[in-house]
C-alpha cells in the first residue's frame, strides 16, 4: 500500500506532462471498468503504449478502477441492459449482432455495454478534470504540502524512503 501511494506521489511530483498522466488515468478507467478479455482493451493497450501515456499512472489507475468496477457492477448492468433493450436502438444492435467484430466484443452483454458506456462518457470530462487537478496540485498544493509538519514526519518515514527510491 505504501509503495502504491509513494508511486502516485512520485508520478504527480515528476516532470511528466499532466496530459500524459490524465490520459493514462482515463485509459486505465476503460480497461479497469470493462471486462479485461474484451477485444477493445487491445486497442486501449495500443493507445497506452503508442501515445506516450504515463505507464505508472496507467497501472496504478487500472488497479484502482478495477476495484471501483466491482462496486459499480450493478450500475453497469442496469445501464447496459437499458441500452440494449431500448427500442430505438434495436435496429443498430441487430446490425451489430450480425457482425463478427461486434460478436467478438460481446457487446450484447449488459455489463460490457454498461461499463463501456460509462467509461466512454466519462473519458473526456475526466481527462480535463484530471488535468486541472494535477496542475492545481503542482501549482498550489505541492509547495504547501512540502512545508507542512506532516510532510516533515513523512520525510522521515518509510513512505518517503520508498518515494525517494522510486524517484531515483
Amino acid at each position: 500500500m505504501i509503495n502504491i501511494v509513494a508511486k502516485l506521489i512520485s508520478i504527480l511530483n515528476s516532470e511528466t506532462e499532466p496530459g500524459q498522466i490524465s490520459l493514462a488515468f482515463c485509459l486505465s478507467m476503460v480497461i479497469g471498468f470493462t471486462p479485461v478479455f474484451c477485444p477493445h482493451n487491445l486497442l486501449v493497450l495500443l493507445l497506452v503504449l503508442f501515445l506516450r501515456a504515463n505507464l505508472s499512472a496507467f497501472l496504478f489507475g487500472w488497479a484502482v478502477f478495477s476495484a471501483i468496477a466491482y462496486l459499480l457492477d450493478p450500475l453497469f448492468h442496469a445501464i447496459g441492459y437499458k441500452a440494449l433493450t431500448a427500442q430505438p436502438l434495436h435496429g443498430l444492435w441487430t446490425s451489430c449482432y450480425n457482425m463478427t467484430l461486434w460478436r467478438l466484443e460481446n457487446f450484447n452483454n449488459s455489463i460490457v455495454m454498461g461499463s463501456l458506456i460509462v467509461s466512454l462518457t466519462l473519458f473526456i470530462p475526466l481527462y480535463f478534470i484530471f488535468n486541472v487537478l494535477i496542475k492545481k496540485y503542482r501549482g498550489q498544493l505541492l509547495e504547501w504540502v512540502r512545508k507542512t509538519k506532516v510532510m516533515g514526519m513523512l520525510k522521515a518515514s518509510k513512505l518517503y524512503i520508498a518515494y525517494k527510491a522510486l524517484a531515483g
Binding site: L45, L46, F50, D73, Y81, T85, N108, N109, I111
Partner: protein, 572 residues
C-alpha cells in the same frame, strides 16, 4: 506531436500480442481441457474428468481422450466413460460463439465403470435437502413386510389409544380432585356451622322486649347467611356430581379403545391376501421405479439444454444477473444458427456382451433453429448372450411448447443370469436364469409421460427357497420356483414429476393362490395375539382409574355432611 507519439510502444504492443498468441497456442490444450471439465461438472452436478485434449488449429479440430462423467447419485461410479472422441470444428462460426460440428466419432463408450476417487462435488444445503426427500420417497416405495412381526415388539413401537386416553383420564381425575379439595377448604365447614349454632343459642337466651326484637332480627340475618352457605355447598356438590358423571362416562368408553387399537395395528402390520393381490408390483415395483427414476434424472439434466429454443426463454425481463457476469441480450440473426449443433455422431459402446454401435443426428441446443429433431439409432447384432438389441429415439423439440420425445427398445433372446430383481432386505430376489424378450415404447409429450414396457420371460429359474425364511416368503419362493415362463408388463402414466407405475404379470394369480392359505392362517394368529396383548396392557390401567374416580366420592360425602349440618340449623 512528437511529444505524444512513442514509436517503441508500437513494437512493445506487437510483442505483447505475439506473446499472447504464443501463450494461447502453447496452452490451448490445457485451456480447452479446463473449460470442458468445468462446464461438464457444472452441467452434470458431479466431477467430469478428462485425460487429454488435443486441439488442432489448422484445420480446427478437437480430440478428447478418457472422458469420465461421474454418476451424481453414485459418486464412486462413472455414469459413462468415453475412450476417444474426435471432432472437427467450424472455425469461422466459433468467432460467433457457435459450435458447429459436421461429424463426430465417439469410441469406447462404457457405462457404470468404477472410479478410484469419489466424483462427488460439494452440494448446497438446499440440494442436499432435496436429495434427502428423494431418498425418503424411495424408502416409501420399499417392499412391505412379508413376515408377521412379534406382537410385543409392535406394541413397544406403537402408541396405544387406550393407554393414551387412560393417561389423559387419570390426569383429568387428579386435576379435578385437587380442584374440589381446594374448594372444600374454602367452603363453610363444621366449625362455621358450630359458630352459627352458638350464636343462635346465645340470642335465644336474651330477655326484655327490645332485646328479643333485636335478637330476632339477628337470628333472621344469621339464617340468611346459613342459607347462603348451604346454597354454596349445594352448587359445589352439583358441579362435583356432573364432573364425576363425565369422568365415569369416559371411563365407560375406555374398553372400546382396545378394539380401535387392534383395527389400526392389524391393518398396518398384518398380511392380507387381498393386499397381496398384485405381488408382481410389490416385488418388481421398487426396482423398476428406481430404473425409471434414474432415467428421468438424466432426462431432467439434458432437457433444459435441448429446450433452449423455447419462446419463453427469449424474454429476459427482470433477469437477476450473476455478479460480474451480466446478462446477454440476444437479437435476431440474419442467418440464424444454434449455439451447438453436431450434425452426425457415430458412437460405439463397449458393453460386457460385446460392441454396440449407432448414430445420433442433430445434437443441438436449439432445434427450433435447426428445424429437425435429434434422433438416434443403436443396434447390436453379434452380441454375447443376446440375439438382437435395437434402440431408437426421437427427441422432437422443434416446436418447444409442443415437444414430443419417443424412445423405443427391442431386445430379443437376452440370456439373463443372476439378475437382482429385488434388493429388499426382507425379500431379496434374484432371477437365476431366463431367456428374455423386451419391448419398450415410451412417449414424453410436453410434461406427460406414457410408457409401456413388456418383458416376456421363458426358461425361468428362481433360486430354491431357503430354510431360514419366514413361512410366507417360503410360500412365495416355492410358487416362483415353479414358474417356467411368464410375461410382465409395466405401464407408466403421469407427468415428469409424478408418475403412476402399474406392473402386472400372469404369475400374480399363481402367487396369490400359493400364499393365500398361509397368509390367512398367519393373520388369524396375529389377531389373537394382538387382542390379548392390548387387553393385557390396558386392563391394569382401567382398574386404577376406577379407584381414582372413587376418590372423588369422599369429597362428595364431606359436602353431604356439611349440608346436613346446615339444614339442621335452618330447621331448628
Amino acid at each position: 506531436m512528437k511529444k505524444w507519439i512513442r514509436w517503441q510502444g508500437l513494437i512493445a504492443f506487437i510483442g505483447i500480442v505475439v506473446a499472447l498468441s504464443v501463450f494461447f497456442i502453447v496452452f490451448a490444450d490445457g485451456i480447452a481441457k479446463m473449460a470442458i471439465k468445468k462446464t461438464g461438472t457444472m452441467v452434470v452436478g458431479a466431477v467430469v474428468d478428462l485425460d487429454d485434449v488435443d486441439l488442432a488449429l489448422f484445420p480446427l479440430g478437437l480430440k478428447l481422450k478418457g472422458l469420465r462423467v461421474t454418476n451424481p447419485d453414485e459418486p464412486m461410479k462413472n455414469a459413462f466413460e468415453i475412450m476417444r472422441a474426435d471432432l472437427s470444428l467450424n472455425a469461422s462460426n466459433l468467432l460467433w460463439r457457435k459450435i458447429l460440428i459436421n461429424k463426430m466419432a465417439v469410441d469406447g463408450v462404457k457405462f457404470n465403470t468404477p472410479r478410484k476417487k469419489s466424483g462427488a462435488i460439494k452440494v448446497s444445503k438446499k440440494s442436499r435437502a432435496q436429495e434427502k426427500s428423494k431418498q425418503e420417497e424411495l424408502k416409501k416405495r420399499k417392499l412391505p413386510s412379508f413376515d408377521v412381526k412379534d406382537v410385543k415388539t409392535i406394541l413397544k413401537k406403537e402408541t396405544l389409544l387406550t393407554i393414551e386416553e387412560a393417561n389423559k383420564l387419570q390426569n383429568d381425575i387428579e386435576q379435578q380432585k385437587k380442584f374440589f379439595e381446594k374448594q372444600l377448604k374454602e367452603l363453610p365447614d363444621e366449625n362455621k356451622f358450630e359458630g352459627y349454632e352458638n350464636q343462635i343459642k346465645k340470642l335465644k337466651k336474651v330477655s326484655g322486649f327490645q332485646e328479643v326484637l333485636t335478637a330476632a332480627k339477628e337470628i333472621k340475618t344469621l339464617k340468611k347467611d346459613i342459607e347462603k352457605d348451604i346454597n354454596q355447598l349445594k352448587n359445589t356438590r352439583t358441579n362435583l356430581n356432573t364432573t364425576v358423571n363425565m369422568l365415569q362416562s369416559r371411563l365407560k368408553k375406555l374398553p372400546q379403545y382396545p378394539m380401535e387399537d387392534f383395527r389400526r395395528i392389524n391393518s398396518k402390520y398384518s398380511l392380507s391376501p387381498q393386499g397381496m393381490g398384485n405381488l408382481t408390483h410389490l416385488i418388481f415395483g421398487p426396482t423398476y421405479a428406481k430404473w425409471v427414476e434414474n432415467g428421468l434424472v438424466w432426462y431432467h439434466k439434458i432437457a433444459p439444454i435441448v429446450e433452449k429454443g423455447r419462446k419463453s426463454d427469449e424474454k429476459q425481463e427482470g433477469v437477476e444477473p450473476v455478479r460480474g457476469k451480466g446478462v446477454n441480450v440476444h437479437f435476431e440473426e440474419y442467418e440464424p444458427l444454434p449455439e451447438l449443433l453436431i450434425k452426425h455422431t457415430s458412437v460405439s459402446f463397449e458393453v460386457p456382451a460385446g460392441d454396440f454401435s449407432g448414430t445420433i443426428k442433430n445434437i443441438t441446443n436449439n432445434q427450433r433453429i435447426v428445424g429437425a429433431p435429434t434422433t438416434c439409432e443403436f443396434d447390436g447384432k453379434k452380441l454375447k448372450g443376446v440375439d438382437l438389441v435395437k434402440i431408437t429415439g426421437n427427441f422432437n423439440h422443434v416446436s418447444p411448447d409442443t415437444s414430443k420425445d419417443t424412445i423405443g427398445a427391442t431386445v430379443r433372446g437376452f440370456k439373463v443370469e443372476g439378475l437382482s430383481i429385488s434388493d429388499s432386505e426382507e425379500f431379496p430376489l434374484i432371477l437365476e436364469k431366463a431367456l428374455a424378450n423386451l419391448n419398450l415404447d415410451a412417449v414424453i409429450k410436453g410434461n406427460a409421460v406414457d410408457s409401456k414396457m413388456e418383458f416376456i420371460l421363458s426358461s425361468v429359474q428362481f433360486p430354491e427357497p431357503k430354510e431360514d425364511s419366514s413361512i410366507v416368503i417360503r410360500s412365495i419362493r416355492n410358487a416362483l420356483s415353479a414358474v417356467t415362463d411368464c410375461s410382465i408388463t409395466a405401464d407408466i402414466k403421469g407427468t415428469l414429476d409424478k408418475q403412476d407405475i402399474k406392473i402386472e404379470s400372469d404369475i400374480d394369480d399363481r402367487l396369490k393362490k400359493a400364499i393365500s392359505q398361509t397368509v390367512m392362517k398367519q393373520t388369524e394368529e396375529f389377531k389373537a395375539k394382538l387382542i390379548k396383548e392390548i387387553n393385557g396392557s390396558t386392563h391394569a390401567q382401567v382398574s386404577a382409574l376406577k379407584g381414582s374416580i372413587a376418590g372423588l366420592d369422599s369429597i362428595d360425602q364431606k359436602l353431604q355432611d356439611r349440608l346436613q349440618l346446615g339444614n339442621q340449623l335452618t330447621r331448628n
